[in-house]
């Protein structure tokens, strides 16, 4: 596995640990459907949080948050709706939803920095 393929999953693990440490409860990890994938789905109080994680090893190509585009978030939102529909079909309640972005800068020779933005898509 090349380094770049390992970087994404590494960042997702770091992001998950960061959010769990803040009291979030994990619902799904890498949830897939035919239309795409959601990196993380967590429960924060009464809100269901869908998280897009973007990881980079350095800032040479810009901050990872800059790579999270509106189009990407719109797709995430469609996937979130799909996830909620499946939940309701299974007879479960879904509360309010929120979309968060987490940027992970993980250089190979230094500790990773995590940047969490809550409610980025309205």
């Amino acid at each position: 596995m090349p380094d770049t393929d390992r970087l994404g999953p590494l960042g997702e693990r770091l992001a998950e640990r960061h959010l769990l440490a803040r009291g979030y409860r994990l619902l799904e990890r890498n949830w897939r459907c035919p239309r795409g994938e959601i990196d993380l789905i967590l429960q924060d109080g009464d809100e269901t949080v869908f998280v897009e994680v973007k990881t980079r090893s350095a800032l040479g190509y810009g901050h990872p948050l800059e790579a999270i585009t509106v189009a990407k978030l719109a797709r995430l939102r469609r996937l979130a709706v799909e996830w909620c529909r499946q939940r309701r079909e299974a007879g479960e309640q879904v509360g309010r939803i929120r979309i968060d972005a987490v940027a992970v800068v993980a250089p190979s020779d230094a500790p990773a920095r995590i940047d969490h933005l809550a409610g980025v898509f309205r």
Binding site: H63, L65, E66, L73, A101, A103, L117, V120
Partner: protein, 509 residues
Amino acid sequence: MSVGRARTIALVGIEGAVVEIEADISPQLPAFVLVGLPDAALGEARDRVRSAAGNSGLPLPSRKLTVNLSPAALPKQGSAFDLGIALAALVADGRLPAESVARVVHLGELGLDGRLRPVPGILPAVMAAVRAGWRTVLVPAGSADEARLVPGAEVVGVASLRDAAIWHGAELEPVAVEPLVAPAPVGAEEAAQGDLSEVVGSREAVEAVQVAAAGGHHLLLLGPPGAGKTMLAARLPGLLPPLDVAAALELASIRSLAGLPIGAVLPDRAPFEAPHHTASAAALVGGGSGVIRPGAAARATHGVLFLDEAPEFSPHALDALRQPLEDGVVRLTRAAATAQFPARFQLVLAANPCPCGNDGAPDLSCSCTPMAKRRYLGRLSGPLLDRIDIRLRVPRVTAAQLRGRGEGVSTAEARARVAEARGRAAARLDGTPWRLNAHVPGAWLRSDAGRPAPGAAEPLDRALERGALTMRGYDRALRVAWSIADLDGVDRPGRAQIGRALLLRTGAA
């Protein structure tokens, strides 16, 4: 995070308004939103500011940055807001002290490397800042000399955004950079205007130019090609007194807005503008839809606007000058704003008497049909000609005049005479709103103070009776007579002065 504030100036014409820049950083995906009616150049400040800040060692945070320009309804143009926007953003990010940035007016365009570029209109912007009570202004180092011309301004010239941040108290190592200076426009060097004594021939013409200078009269020079019309007109600014500080600041503001270079000293010479006859109305009086720019009439304020080959100008362009001739200001109204420029110029028109140019010359034959002649001078509209006090025929120089040439009056001598004459007029008009003979109204001319010597107006009365002179023409001849009297040093125009005034009035078509 707090809201960062900085101040800058938005120019509409020559007037400026203080604009407050607010910057807010919110925990959102990275974005740069600029609101408050920016034009295209100002909208691009987003990209300039982000790059310049990064390259100055003060990168903006990877968050959503919202910049508001207040008052939001005032249209804003140009690139002079860059510095203020960058500093307000850095305050919002907590990198600079808010109090220091908020009490200074900032002007300047940012280069991508963080250096500050001079922008047009620094002088009027700094004047507006000082008038509004903001004494300290931060300007690009290349514009500092220009900004220092404004009395009462505390000017800080900085070469880069980094220097500006350090001035505000950022703890950074200074990095020396080459300051950017405004490129000097090619051919902007003013042509030497020559001396009045170089004008050969026509003594009346030299005299008429002095009368025009003394009284501020508009002038029409009519004559065949090669008679020296252009030469005479170019020497008129040299006869005008030096500009006072207020006039010089006004002129320098216009030059600054037009993007012309201004040195470290105020111009004290009267300007001379000679637009080509293909000039459009917008080129003469100013215009533009987004940024309203001054035209030749504004650049000639307190000086001379010379229109060579006047009948060749488009009638539309010429008639656009009528309003500034009357009011001394140009008011340009566009959908976005109304701009006002000073345009207190002295108009000099030069024209050939007919398309071939030979009409009226003693030993040359004119090949133009009467209709062609009429049409040619008919392009100068009546209302425009009506505002011209002195109409002079300039004959071609003859060989005899060239040989018999005595020592002509020099510019320095003539300027002294003109200054003396203007002094007499100012003393006489003390307590009235007018300073020059050309500006006094007809009522004053017929009052006790303005009446000529007893019996002296007889030639004028006769011309009026004959119908050779209209009432308006009568008044104009009297104004010119007063200027001649001032030059001659007599208390009231006598018969001699009135006679010469009448000749200058009707000497040409």
